[in-house]
Subunit: 276 residues, 2 copies
């Protein structure tokens, strides 16, 4: 861990979120700490969801499965409360968005299981460090995301297409981008597709299904990575009685440094923040 | 896949097993196809076991989670029957070995969930191909395995120490062995420890807890990889009413070529044998 990364910064940021002093998106905040997607489901759906994640590890890299009913991510952010520490949540009933609250404490049930899922933000710093430009960061936009024609392996009620994020990469840097991200297999890993968007069912790169569009310049190739929106989309497609997620762009900030996510997920290496 | 690898060979081998023509260990048989550890548990324990595997992916790389009650590995060996296609099983009741049958059809329940877990046999061919000697293969023995003082992250009733396999590697080839196996992160990945066995609680390299001992020659370093016996040991430590595993050395042979296990587990790449 770089000396400059003060781990209490993540705790302070979550406290600002919990007390309503920070209400917006989390991109660019608490740089250096891994941010995570959230999916909360009742226990009776948790097994099928975990099998879905196991069968589709590229789009669904699990950072932590919380204990049923327990809102504390004891491994990745001890002391945090998953019900208050995200700026904005989405509450879906039978697949329909019914509420976008700043806390889910009022909805909490003893049988809720929370899944924290890796996010491609984690490999953007390593890409930049390797001299690879990241267009949506340059432009201050959200990453463009597309629904593909690649089907995930289903599990129980959960099914659906893989969602990918797209970054335009100069041709001479594509191999480097593959190399850098392939090494981070615990957070999506290497690209699932390079170039030829039509081959994975993307008709128009200018019209993403989620996020913002970004231009692809002359000499650049669109490169596609599996996206953490995939499991969220699968959870919604299943239309369960109730599912809660973070609101897009409003992520959970963990105590795990980006540079240690890989070791954290595999249970190896230096991360000592958790109690596990 | 090498042209020489005839995928029907795995099916033919399983048929020999199912009909009692092959009854012994599987090492050295059906070379080139991934062999897997088996753990069968009733559904009410399957969720906790899968969380255990998710929290400890290095010792517990999941190749496939079968549908509850269904004995067919539809993804990794379509048409196979997990109840008959392993030469020898072990049946434990409350942690005690009660039976070592050649079939578990008579014990099968509609709520049984079967887990196929990756095996380090899969990276031994790549090690050999890289010019790295594998001592227990040279000597025709089983790989030595040791219980360490490294605790797995617990999940529900499942807990226990990590079990490792040990291979003595010449000092000049240790880096190469790390490189080769790290690339196969879906089957245990790189070593969890190199040298200094006492640091992980191994008092005597000559007395493994499972498997056979092998000599470590002058100039060699003992290198330790996470072992698929770990989840089996955790399942036994939990002393569930009933758990069924393969008998050590008597593995399940899948249709997945060793060279494609990585892509198979991540759901990417070329493997097209399954129906998923």
């Amino acid at each position: 861990m770089p000396e400059s990364l003060d781990r209490s910064a993540a705790q302070r940021f979550r406290a600002e979120v919990a007390t309503g002093r920070h209400t917006g998106p989390t991109a660019g905040h608490c740089m250096g700490f891994a941010q995570a997607n959230l999916v909360v489901l009742p226990k009776n759906l948790a097994y099928d969801f975990l099998v879905f994640a196991t069968r589709n590890p590229k789009p669904c890299p699990i950072i932590e499965v919380l204990e049923p009913g327990n809102p504390e991510p004891a491994l990745s952010a001890p002391g945090a409360d998953i019900r208050t520490d995200i700026p904005k949540y989405r509450v879906y009933r039978r697949g329909v968005l019914v509420e976008e609250p700043a806390s889910i404490t009022h909805l909490w049930q003893d049988d809720f299981v929370s899944f924290l899922i890796g996010c491609s933000f984690t490999f953007e710093k390593p890409l930049l460090d390797a001299g690879i430009p990241v267009r949506h960061i340059e432009l201050g936009r959200n990453v463009p995301m597309f629904i593909t024609n690649m089907q995930c392996r289903p599990a129980g009620v959960f099914h659906g297409p893989m969602v990918v994020s797209m970054r335009p990469i100069p041709g001479r840097l594509v191999a480097k981008a593959v190399e850098v991200t392939a090494a981070m297999h615990a957070v999506h890993g290497g690209p699932v597709h390079v170039g030829a968007p039509e081959a994975i069912g993307i008709a128009d790169l200018g019209r993403p299904d989620f996020g913002d569009s970004v231009p692809v310049y002359e000499g650049e190739v669109p490169v596609f990575w599996a996206c953490g929106v995939t499991p969220q989309a699968a959870a919604l497609a299943a239309k369960p009685e109730l599912v809660i997620t973070h609101s897009p762009g409003h992520m959970f900030v963990t105590d795990v440094p980006d540079s240690e996510v890989q070791d954290f997920i595999t249970g190896m290496g230096g991360f000592r923040g958790g109690r596990g």
